[in-house]
């Protein structure tokens, strides 16, 4: 057991435990904090992979930017207290996720498995040409090299090299432009009067729908709840 292995094990346990907490908790803010722990653990993995640049970029982008956006959103959409953590398809989702994990592990894990397709009727119909296939213990083409000392500068050069990643690099700028335009439009400050009018419209439509469904002659009165728009003073 080398020190790196110990660090890896600690990070792995922390990351997976925190991730499980994130997807099961009812308290969204604590979930966001645990998500930050996951991001931090990821930065630790990148350090173990000899990539300091991306470890730092991970902290900068995920913890410094994305987490803050998520926490702001959690705080802006209050009512996360007593949140129901899962929906009706949770069991199915858990089974699907577990099945996917087992499948990935069998296909790419360290165990070498030989599956004889001809023995199983369904599989033999699916994979007609092959009779047997080896799963797991993939023979990756290992490079056996250290990371070059100049990997940061190399990466910088590759980003603006026209034969490498110049086009995606420039597209990022336009993507970010579009994101900002859309998000600013969506999250703009709306006047209370505007909001009330919108909600009244929705309520009317819903009432009309309900009336049309029931085939009643007279439309129902507007539901009270829909009208009670908050005009709370923003801080």
């Amino acid at each position: 057991m080398t020190i790196q292995q110990v660090v890896f094990a600690v990070l792995a346990v922390a990351v997976i435990g925190a991730a499980l907490f994130v997807v099961t908790t009812g308290n969204l803010f604590r979930g966001a904090l645990m998500l930050i722990l996951v991001f931090f653990g990821m930065a630790g993995f990148y350090v173990l992979l000899d990539n300091g640049l991306f470890a730092v970029a991970q902290v900068m982008i995920y913890i410094g930017a994305i987490s803050i956006l998520i926490i702001f959103a959690v705080m802006l959409t209050r009512g996360m207290q007593a949140m129901i953590p899962r929906n009706a398809q949770a069991t199915g989702a858990a089974v699907a996720a577990a099945a996917l994990f087992v499948a990935i592990f069998l296909a790419f894990g360290p165990l070498r498995l030989t599956v004889d397709f001809s023995a199983v009727p369904v599989l033999s119909a699916l994979f007609r040409t092959e009779t047997a296939r080896t799963l797991g213990d993939v023979p990756w083409q290992y490079a056996n090299q250290p990371v070059p000392e100049t990997y940061i500068a190399d990466f910088g050069r590759a980003l603006v090299n026209i034969n490498q990643y110049l086009l995606p690099f420039l597209l990022i700028a336009f993507l970010v432009d579009a994101v900002l335009a859309g998000a600013v439009h969506l999250a703009r400050q709306r006047k209370p009067a505007e909001l009330i009018a919108e909600r009244r419209e929705i309520a009317e439509e819903e009432a009309e729908e309900a009336a049309a469904l029931r085939g009643a002659a007279s439309p129902e009165p507007l539901p009270q709840g829909a009208m009670a728009a908050t005009t709370t003073q923003d801080h």
Binding site: G31, T77, Y165
Partner: protein, 108 residues
């Protein structure tokens, strides 16, 4: 053939990444809150990034492909979160709910 860097074989990283991806998948499928679903998506993107950088380190440390893709995933993840959360906030302000099952009004 078994290649070990810093005492860690490649499949350890793949294992963690797969576990994280599946946890994220569960989060996306099983949560009742749009922000929580977005957190699940973040977990999945992170696991993909871990895979990319692990393969970069073990298979091609001299090339820039793994780094470039990981960097673009950073960018796209940030963009996706920004727009996603703006949508959720906008929907919340109109409808007072962040439950995707309740957001069946195609208007907003």
């Amino acid at each position: 053939m078994q290649n070990v860097i810093n005492g860690i074989p490649l499949w350890w990283y793949l294992f963690v990444a797969a576990a994280l991806f599946c946890i994220g998948l569960y989060g996306v499928l099983a949560r009742k809150n749009a922000i929580a679903m977005l957190m699940g998506v973040e977990l999945m993107l992170n696991s993909v990034n871990l895979n990319l950088l692990a393969f970069w380190r073990y298979l091609a440390p001299g090339s820039q492909a793994g780094l470039a893709f990981a960097a673009f995933i950073f960018v796209v993840a940030a963009a996706e979160t920004a727009v996603g959360l703006a949508l959720i906030i906008s929907a919340y302000r109109s409808l007072r709910s962040v439950d995707p099952e309740k957001l069946d009004q195609l208007k907003f």
